[in-house]
């Protein structure tokens, strides 16, 4: 396999995305810590800062800014490594970076001045300052520019390599970006066409249910947009780190295609308890939601198969001997592995959340918060950290020293412990009825509420441990970016077995897979959308005062 080496100019682009990522981690993490402290009831925010301002900051900075910047930067590097980047594409890469960054700053400015405490899902008819929506639209548009650069990169490579199979990682990046563009069309339409004119006062009312439905059309694929880069590392990078080969090129491609098809038409499972959607269509989308179980099972199988095959090749023959011999002391492996382990309870919780009726027990309780702190904030983020340990020194021409490796291992343990405490207590508190997205409150002060508060105290303990983990990770990042000794760190990409079976050509038939995806979306959304628009109530006027805007 031919790999491209990065020029200084290229590395600088990819590193720019990493700098924003880790600054976001620090800022967003601090907001998370403050939230758990406020909810413990023992701490009040200074300077009249509102709880919901920091809640909005935490959600937007970590859920949208950190993830998007890391993913776009990481994916650019994957494309640069496998298919190369031209000077012109590099320039467009920088344009995407600046558009996203300016958008982020605009939105952050509005959030921090209390003009946009509308959390992460916008919550019309609460009305934020128009600049907040403009900023968010820019983040999305910037990421589209990146997506089209990626598409172009693969196209140019294909033209130069007629008849050859595209590199696996480039294929995966393109799948993820197709999904992202198709999904974010929904939220872009909602923000630009429905919310922005209403927020500016050009339109009197907004259709609340329509904006929510368009948001969740995007909101669920969004979580797969976070997950797929982690899957890329699991499928095609971890095998190399543990000294093995790719398990199956075709299986990995098939899993990604299935994720593309089944991640988009499932937004209703976030809206199961809403009054304005037909229950039959909710059920149909529940069924489609569960189809992602198939590629998930394929992924689990192929990962453990790689672990076992690699171990056995090294000569460990007993039933589980291979497991002991995995490189546990290599943080590039350990951090993603802990992430994979967290995905087992995380995925099981997801099945509960999406289950038609069972959902009503946990809907909007803090159980949900516990769920995505396992899946996104552990599985995805620990894999991202695992990538950072080799990607950043590779880009800066430095080395992951044994000392930094050790600190990384400590960091992984701190994360695992903090998240176990915080997420477990969130799950339990949710089951007994504790709501999410709420500041500290004793409500009516009954027996029920006092049991919630004890779990909120343990969340503060977990949150504090996690913040220590964030500080340590930030320190490691600074070391890898600026101070680690000069040297060479490998960019680990696994190769196929020499006798691997040929990948079927059909897996690269983009017209077919994008066509099926669009057909599924039309099937799942056309009739309910007509319903929502036909049976729409009188629209909602904007409300400023409930979020503290005068």
């Amino acid at each position: 396999m031919e790999l491209f080496n990065f020029s200084k100019k290229e590395s600088r682009l990819y590193m720019a995305f990493m700098h924003v990522t880790f600054i976001s981690l620090l800022v967003g993490g601090l907001m998370g810590l403050l939230q758990t402290l406020v909810r413990s009831g023992k701490y009040t925010l200074p300077f009249n800062i509102d709880y919901y301002t920091i809640l909005t900051t935490h959600g937007v900075v970590l859920g949208l800014v950190l993830t998007t910047f890391f993913i776009v930067g990481f994916q650019f590097s994957l494309m640069g490594k496998t298919v190369g980047i031209s000077g012109k594409q590099l320039k467009w890469g920088w344009i995407s970076f600046w558009v996203m960054l300016v958008g982020t700053v605009l939105s952050a400015w509005m959030i921090l001045t209390g003009e946009a405490s509308v959390l992460y899902t916008f919550y019309t008819p609460l009305r934020a300052h128009p600049v907040f929506y403009i900023g968010l639209a820019m983040v999305i548009i910037g990421s589209w520019i990146a997506a089209f650069v990626n598409f172009r990169q693969l196209y140019v490579w294909k033209k130069a390599h007629k008849g050859e199979k595209s590199p696996l990682l480039a294929f995966m990046v393109v799948i993820n970006m197709i999904m992202w563009v198709v999904a974010s069309l929904g939220v872009a339409y909602s923000v630009v066409v429905l919310i922005l004119p209403w927020s500016l006062g050009y339109v009197a009312t907004v259709n609340v249910l329509l904006t929510r439905t368009l948001f969740w059309y995007f909101g669920h694929p969004l979580v797969y947009f976070w997950l797929l880069p982690a899957y890329m590392a699991w499928y095609a990078i971890i095998p190399k780190i543990i000294g093995g080969k790719l398990f199956s090129d075709s299986l990995a491609r098939l899993a990604f295609i299935l994720l593309l098809m089944f991640s988009i038409p499932v937004g209703f499972h976030h809206q199961l308890t809403e009054p304005g959607i037909d229950p039959t269509w909710k059920f149909i989308q529940v069924v489609l939601t569960f189809m992602v179980v198939i590629p998930s099972l394929m992924t689990a199988f192929s990962l453990f198969a790689t672990f076992e095959i690699t171990g056995r090749k090294k000569g460990y023959t007993s039933l589980f001997g291979w497991f002991k011999k995995l490189p546990w002391k290599d943080v590039r492996f350990l951090a993603p592995f802990v992430g994979m382990a967290a995905f087992i309870p995380g995925g099981a919780g997801g099945i509960i959340n999406a289950s038609h009726q069972v959902n009503s027990l946990v809907h909007n309780t803090i159980w949900i918060t516990g769920h995505f702190h396992l899946t996104v904030a552990t599985t995805v983020i620990l894999t991202f950290f695992g990538i950072a340990y080799w990607l950043i020194p590779h880009l800066t021409g430095r080395r992951l020293t044994p000392r930094l490796n050790k600190l990384g291992i400590i960091q992984t343990f701190i994360w695992a412990i903090g998240m176990t405490i915080m997420s477990t207590s969130m799950h339990i508190q949710g089951l007994i009825g504790g709501p999410r997205r709420s500041a500290f409150s004793e409500y009516a002060g009954g027996d029920q509420v006092s049991t919630w508060i004890s779990y909120q105290l343990s969340q503060a303990v977990g949150g504090t441990i996690l913040f220590i983990g964030i500080l340590l990770m930030f320190y490691i990042f600074i070391q890898l970016a600026f101070f680690a000794p000069r040297g060479y760190e490998e960019y680990p990409i696994a190769e196929e077995e020499p006798d691997a079976e040929k990948t079927p050509k059909i897996l690269e038939n983009w017209y077919l897979w994008i066509g099926i995806t669009i057909a599924l979306i039309l099937f799942a959304y056309t009739i309910p959308m007509i319903d929502i628009i036909k049976h729409s109530p009188p629209g909602s006027i904007p409300f400023d005062w409930p979020i503290g805007r005068s």
Partner: protein, 166 residues
């Protein structure tokens, strides 16, 4: 495409459990009728009184048959309007006997709210322009806190009520 033999077993097992699981929730939904709340019934959020259920004098608890109750409520930032007591003060607690069937009906005058009777299955989104309904049998006695579990503004955590089952 080649699939490993163990992988086929693994996928058949996984898909089999998935099909069984979906059949169970489908059976519960379509044969037993336990869908989550969805009524697609609209209302003007700026004039909820136009609907009889949400006129001020009809808010709160009404016994419609032996052991059957209806509770009409209007949510607004940051309060649940459960109607008035005989002395004119705002009702804060809904009291029903154990074992009764209660139909909760609620709508919002302003922004999106939640209505969850913590510790029971009663959990609904309340959106301006729509009526939310959920019928539940109150099997256990006790005091249950009603919480708004959908963000509605800076007073979100101050929005609550009580359901007492005696």
């Amino acid at each position: 495409m080649h699939l490993h033999k163990y992988e086929k077993v693994w996928l058949v097992f996984g898909l089999g459990s998935l099909v069984l699981f979906l059949l169970i929730i489908g059976f519960a939904a379509f044969w037993k009728g336990t869908h989550p709340q969805s009524h697609i019934e609209t209302i003007d959020p700026q004039n909820v009184e136009a609907n009889e259920s949400f006129q001020p004098e009809n808010l709160g608890l009404t016994e419609v048959a032996d052991g059957k109750y209806v509770v009409n409520m209007v949510a607004s930032a940051f309060n649940y309007d459960f109607g008035k007591e005989d002395d004119g003060t705002a009702t804060k607690t809904i009291r029903v006997p154990k074992g009764s069937t209660v139909l909760f009906q609620i709508t919002s005058k302003d922004v999106v709210h939640g209505f969850q009777v913590a510790g029971t299955n009663v959990n609904m989104m309340v959106e301006p322009g729509h009526i939310s309904r959920f019928e539940a049998v109150m099997k256990n006695s006790g005091e249950f806190t009603v919480v708004c579990n959908e963000y509605c503004g800076i007073g979100h955590h101050l929005m609550f009520g009580t359901v007492e089952v005696y």
